[in-house]
């Protein structure tokens, strides 16, 4: 692990009096797989939205690939890829078209576009289905296409918000295999949120646990487990920091959006 690619300092976001994220400070190294864990309403999505420049912070700042999310938003946007929680590819276009539009929006040189798209399709195992409408894809294929779409321009950091929500275990494994391969091939830093502890345990170099907007724990799985004493699992760590209030604080819109995503993917 070498350079720091993501440096978050005192990042805070308030909605009225409610602090969704409070004074979050942490840094992520280039090439790291970093998991942000927490129960619903812990502030994970708000954090990702600030880091992807979708939501301005109330105070604090973050440097993504050296660019400030406040003063250099365009630089940040060029350097990142983002896979939102919902479905972000267009069901009324083909898989190929979904990739082509992003190749154009990210200014990939014209002569490289076709080769890049072919490579991405091949890498995500979607070549045979490239000309089909995405509306006919399975959930796992949709997620793989979304990842292909957000990595066409070889981002330094890929943000994924609940990348495997609503997928069956086989599709989930396939998505992770592709993500890990991608890191190996291109050195992409992966920053993702998840509810699934086993996912964090098997894939993350380090994890952070957020609870009620604050960072409660940070380290490798082994370090966090050891911090509670011998023979503790990551589940114990999670319960220790996040309590058992798994559904605390989430609003109706977020829940219905998540269920709708799960339904469409599943």
């Amino acid at each position: 692990m070498g350079d720091v690619v993501l440096e978050i300092e005192n990042l805070t976001r308030r909605f009225g009096a409610f602090a969704a994220v409070e004074a979050l400070t942490l840094s992520v190294n280039a090439g790291e797989v970093f998991g942000l864990l927490g129960s619903n309403g812990a502030g994970k999505t708000t954090t990702i939205k600030m880091l992807t420049t979708l939501l301005p912070p109330t105070s604090g700042d973050a440097l993504v690939a050296g660019f400030s999310i406040i003063t250099q938003a365009i630089g940040v946007r060029r350097a990142i890829g983002y896979v939102p929680q919902g479905i972000s590819v267009d069901g009324s276009l083909t898989g190929y078209e979904n990739l082509l539009i992003f190749a154009k929006l990210y200014d990939l040189p014209h002569r490289e576009q076709q080769a890049r798209i072919a490579e991405a399709l091949d890498f995500m195992n979607l070549t045979a289905d490239a000309k089909r409408l995405v509306g006919e894809y399975s959930g796992g294929m949709v997620r793989r296409l979304e990842i292909a779409q957000s990595t066409l321009h070889r981002p330094k950091v890929l943000f994924l918000d609940e990348p495997t929500v609503g997928l069956d275990p086989i599709a989930r494994d396939a998505v992770w295999k592709h993500l890990i391969d991608m890191r190996a091939n291109y050195g992409t830093t992966l920053f993702f949120t998840t509810h699934y502890l086993e996912e964090a345990e098997s894939h993350c170099d380090r994890i952070a646990i957020m609870h009620l907007g604050k960072l409660d724990a940070l380290g490798t799985c082994k370090e966090l487990e050891a911090s509670l004493g011998p023979r503790h699992t990551l589940n114990d760590v999670f319960v220790h920091y996040a309590g058992s209030a798994l559904d605390f604080g989430n609003n109706f819109r977020a829940v219905s959006a998540e269920r709708a995503t799960a339904q469409r993917l599943g």
Binding site: K49, L54, P84, G86, D90, S92, L93, E97, D107, Q149
Partner: protein, 264 residues
């Protein structure tokens, strides 16, 4: 990253057309909406238009009533199609598509204007319908290439204007239910407070004043001038174009400001 950098204006224009291109590709995959949309102007021209023409209740000067309302109905159907366009961005927001586009380096104004243009090009099918019906009803059309070209441009611009207006509303209300409510509330006043189906001369003073602030009035005036043989514009085509272009530019810049709100 192997991105090529370009002049902001070139980038803006190019990105606008990328957005338009992909919106239109969707149409290629499913064009049923073009057919269902044909119904409304047909009803207005064949039923409303014919009945009112027979009644002789509307005094439209030297132009027969059916000729008078044909451009009005084209403008109206452009308005009705475009004003509900914003529901698409609410749909895309609920999915997550808007968020992904906003996290890309695409200029916000290009996202907004690109969608507006695509609505404009989609609406051209309404022009084909209204011209066909007008032929059937014996409306005296102006077939000069310049007039047809003007109609084409006016339809695209008018749909861009009203679909961007719709997008601005969508960015403010954010939910489908509220959007449908607002959309319903706005279409009829825009339509009735215009010169689409009756001349502004017969309006009471207050309504006439409102109609002169209504961009639809200028769209109708421009279409009437270009579509009909031997028609002259009360406002002048340059004023019509100026009103349409300035309103569109203002709406696009407001839309570009508000669009990021959809991601929060």
């Amino acid at each position: 990253m192997t991105a090529t950098f370009m002049h902001p204006l070139t980038g803006f224009i190019e990105k606008t057309f990328v957005i338009t291109e992909f919106e239109l590709r969707k149409l290629r995959h499913d064009f049923t909406e073009l057919i269902t949309r044909a119904l409304q102007p047909a009803l207005w021209l064949l039923i409303f238009g014919q009945v009112f023409a027979r009644s002789g209740a509307m005094h439209t000067g030297s132009i027969p009533y059916l000729d008078f309302i044909a451009p009005g109905i084209l403008a109206q159907s452009v308005l009705f199609v475009a004003i509900f366009y914003g529901i698409n961005v609410i749909w895309e927001r609920d999915l997550g598509i808007v968020q992904k586009f906003l996290a890309s380096p695409t200029p916000r104004a290009a996202l907004v204007l690109g969608k507006g243009f695509s609505a404009g090009i989609r609406t051209l099918s309404q022009g084909v319908i209204v011209y066909s019906l007008s032929l059937l009803l014996g409306v005296k059309l102006n077939w000069s290439p310049l007039a047809l070209f003007n109609v084409l441009i006016i339809v695209i611009l008018a749909a861009t204007l009203f679909s961007t207006f719709s997008l601005v509303i969508a960015c403010i209300v954010k939910t489908r239910e509220r959007f449908m409510g607002v959309g319903q509330v706005l279409t009829m006043p825009l339509f009735f407070a215009s010169n689409a189906i009756y001349p502004t001369d017969i309006m009471p003073g207050w309504l006439k004043m409102i109609s002169h602030l209504n961009p639809l009035t200028y769209v109708v005036d421009a279409l009437r001038t270009c579509m009909l043989a031997g028609s002259t514009s009360p406002f002048g085509l340059s004023l019509d174009y100026a009103v349409i272009l300035v309103t569109t530019a203002v709406l696009v810049s407001v839309g570009a400001r508000l669009y990021p709100r959809l991601a929060t």
